[in-house]
Symmetry: C2
Subunit: 215 residues, 2 copies
């Protein structure tokens, strides 16, 4: 089994702690994320005799098991919350990637976090299927819901709607586009909501538990 | 809400990482466990503005919220797996406690890990209800099942059966005795098994998901 780490936030790393039952495992990650694993001794619960930590150099394709080729694509993003200055108005840039997986001429990108869809990001998101950051529908959604004090962009997540949002910037992307990493404040989770209709009308899908995608 | 940390192994600490959604929380722990939290930066995901880390001095009663008084009782145990020398034949002693909770003249002890039931341990386990380490039924159960290379005692868990085991050493304990922290190799999980009958005949109960205990 292989695990690819594309970010270092708790939701990306903590799953490793439940994979500790003496399973043989390869963990692929770029250097800054491997350094964070090394700096947090609790991850040594993964037995080095069974779990290899393998460095991936961004933008350099490498085999990652199961006949797949992995390429890490750098994305605009921030350092993990647990390393942040919580009072900072602007987030400090930090290790954020998407994973391009290729086999038999087919391709898939998994991009659970992206702070801004730059022209470079747009150019990189070319695959038969793109799973993309669907954290928030509107940038101030957490604030409006009384669930937090940060905008989506402050949290390192471009919103789906609004100027510079995903609907605007990725509407014409070829291939299937599927939102994942969806926060529980995001109304696209509600079947029949205007927001759900808006993303579907723009050709986006909404991931769900148990979803299967065939390439 | 309060959390009491009685050990520093991953199963004791990793739950903190899912309590990160800006909940107000008090974490009670002895100094060595607070030090381990501090040494693993990933736990800083708990916002210091909302989550207090409160030192508990073992054997000194202190209020812990909800009208409860908490006393940490030292137990024989080992350092967490992620700090171990994996090749060591004997485990290094480390921070292992049980939690005595008292209110309105009633008492409960939660002791998910105990490497040996010494006379001192026996004397400390006095409460209306004692939840006790039920990891393994036999000391070599993991080895016999091909699930690991360690005995229960090497893992810091006294077995239920055999010489010096829990049935022998805690059979005459007053109050309810309920096994918890039960490994999936332990046959007491199977209703109707001889091992289940043996613990029930000795007056022990077996905890289950959703169990409610009224004092």
């Amino acid at each position: 089994m292989s695990v690819v780490l594309v970010g270092a936030d708790v939701d990306a790393l903590s799953g490793l702690l439940v994979l500790r039952e003496r399973q043989k495992l390869d963990v692929f990650a770029p250097r800054p994320i491997l350094d964070l694993l090394a700096a947090n001794q609790i991850f040594d619960v993964l037995d080095p005799a069974l779990v290899r930590r393998i460095e991936v150099v961004p933008l350099e394709p490498m085999p990652c098991g199961g006949g797949l080729t992995l390429t890490l694509l750098p994305m605009p993003g921030k350092i993990p919350l647990y390393r942040e200055d919580r009072s900072a108005a602007q987030p400090e840039p930090g290790p954020t990637f998407s994973a391009l997986l290729q086999a038999d001429g087919r391709s898939m990108i998994v991009a659970p976090a992206c702070a801004e869809i730059t022209d470079e990001v747009r150019a990189r998101l070319r695959a038969d299927v793109v799973f993309f950051d669907g954290t928030l529908f509107t940038d101030d959604e957490m604030i409006a819901a009384g669930m937090g004090e940060k905008t989506g962009r402050r949290m390192g997540h471009v919103p789906i709607s609004g100027p510079g949002g995903t609907l605007e910037r990725l509407r014409d992307l070829p291939g299937r586009r599927i939102f994942l990493h969806i926060n529980n404040t995001n109304p696209i989770l509600l079947a029949g909501s205007p927001e759900r209709s808006a993303v579907e009308a723009a050709g986006f899908e909404v991931a769900y538990d148990g979803m299967e995608v065939r390439l």
